[in-house]
Symmetry: C2
Subunit: 390 residues, 2 copies
Amino acid sequence: MSEKNVRLGIIGLGTQGGMYAGVISEGRVPGMTLGAIADVDPAKKELAAEKHPGVPFYDDHLAMLDSGDVDAVVTTVPHFLHPEMTITAIGKGIHTLTEKPAGVYTKQVEEMNAFAAEHPETTFAIMFNQRTNPVYTDLKALIDSGELGALRHTSWIITTWWRPQGYYDQSEWRATWGGEGGGVLVNQAPHQLDLWQWLCGTPQKVFAKLAFGFRRDIATEDEVNALVDFGDGATGHFMTSTNDIIGTDRLEMLFDKGKIVVDSSKKVTVYRLTEDERALSDTLSMQDVARLFRGEVDPSDTYTVEEKEYESAWGQQHIDVLSNFAAHVNDGTPLIADGAEGINGVRLASGMQLSAWTGREIDLVDYPAEEYLAELNRRIEAEGKFGARS
Amino acid sequence: MSEKNVRLGIIGLGTQGGMYAGVISEGRVPGMTLGAIADVDPAKKELAAEKHPGVPFYDDHLAMLDSGDVDAVVTTVPHFLHPEMTITAIGKGIHTLTEKPAGVYTKQVEEMNAFAAEHPETTFAIMFNQRTNPVYTDLKALIDSGELGALRHTSWIITTWWRPQGYYDQSEWRATWGGEGGGVLVNQAPHQLDLWQWLCGTPQKVFAKLAFGFRRDIATEDEVNALVDFGDGATGHFMTSTNDIIGTDRLEMLFDKGKIVVDSSKKVTVYRLTEDERALSDTLSMQDVARLFRGEVDPSDTYTVEEKEYESAWGQQHIDVLSNFAAHVNDGTPLIADGAEGINGVRLASGMQLSAWTGREIDLVDYPAEEYLAELNRRIEAEGKFGARS
């Protein structure tokens, strides 16, 4: 490895891989240069030569891994391939930034995580770019500080992932069981599933209603309404879809000592109670309650309201994760998202699918990984386009 | 019955009954006068004499029903009593406006509805006062017009029902299984449960997470997070609690041809698509999709936005229902809320409780009424304060 310079290999020169290659070539990612590009599609060789002259191109990612041209790779390939490519790369001592989602089913992600854990000298990170959005970075710090106390409930309606039919018709694998392993839960919503559990904690159980091919001609889900249990009475609601052209992005979190509402991932309102809500409740006498009902007590005296509007930080997010990945390799800077954390979102997404398929609430702690895989394979086989998974 | 004048008897001179007696005495309810008052509490006799001199007082509602002083009654008494008092009154030919909720368990409400159906000459209505709120009246008309098409999903977060501990400590029966049969679902949220199913349709299934005595020292639920299935892939989310001092009231409904968002039961935003969203989705070519992702297509061209702010209509609502009830008795004006419709909210509330107790999704069409009652009685017996129900 070059000193303080990570030579990144791009596996898959699609939209995402092309964007990463571009920002690295432009020198926008400190501590990182473009080492090589690999793609199985011969047409991409020409594209690479045109856009990145002089950068080695491989039609086989294994050849690139062995070439000595790269210190690290990013896996911008279909979701099912993330775990196996990550295992291969780490096995060769190549630092790996895996794309989200970490995988489709937890069994393969667990194998990846276990393998990576045996190779701590090789960096293993995941592209959860939205964790770098200052909206969520600030909220993560606020919640982790303990100032707001324990979570009571949360709801995230995230339907800004509108995708028209033409989007699905672009490729054979999109929104199929065998090619993608799901719909909105696997492709679009993994960002929010990660942020949600990052902010609120890992859910213990999930019950979900999914509609498959609801308002799109696809095999998988374009409509999701889910309920999770965080334990100790705390619960959460998550709703997403790709069929809402208007789109809502609204996150609410109620805590013992306050409340947070985030609109459009931009406007944050933080309510801070003067003390724990239960203490406030207990100090009111029955006479106070009577006054409250006569409108003589104003509950808004018990809290402050802080509103903050953030600029959109979309363009910078991927660059921030790439820089952080390079900094971790170069000097041990803590990762924004350790690769091993990717399993939480995968368990949640696949748990929602399994719940919808079986009509049962799914235990996410003692998770039925084999049952999920068997159900997924039944759908892959019925679809008949791709091979079953193991 | 006096011609064009309904002499109303109040059963239960509590907060609600006292308010009704007041507005009727002040002549604010056209076609209705205060006929008599009944209350089992001797202290109320004095109160009635002071506030409503000359109005007959009975310590037994049966005596009032037989007195000839009243043409109609309203049942402002604990929820369990609504069905049995309604049956008694209707059996005596007395028009009845039952309070919400219609009851606690569907078995008793079904008996009430069946009995009322056998006596169509006697008016049977229910106090769903929030149906008179112009916010919801206008939305009901819009949705029923079919302009927005079929429902896709909905979410209502209604946590503006803050109740401090002192509220629960006022009476022995509050938020007990035997005295009230539930917490926020039975006392506060029935308004929204009714409005929700009135606007969105009757759910077919429900799965819910309830926390009992979560942040209050009570036996029943002060925290609810529920998921419903309307059939054909349409789903809904309902979240309520009495422990959010800040309070949220936000209703969202997505339809095939538009979307409605209601904030604080006052601000309504209606989005109208130029055509069905699926048709809009289908007309975009793959080239259009590429342009969309490059930011060259603006989806907001496909819809209009109408915002409307309503005045608070709180004070007038009960008067409107009382007037409508009188008008129905006097000249057959259609009821705002037929008494028989009260069962929908009761089935939904008790279905949420049963789901939380059993961990199962509950069928609301083939509803397990006997199982609910058995589970409720188990809790009443364990509580040991009130008798079991049948």
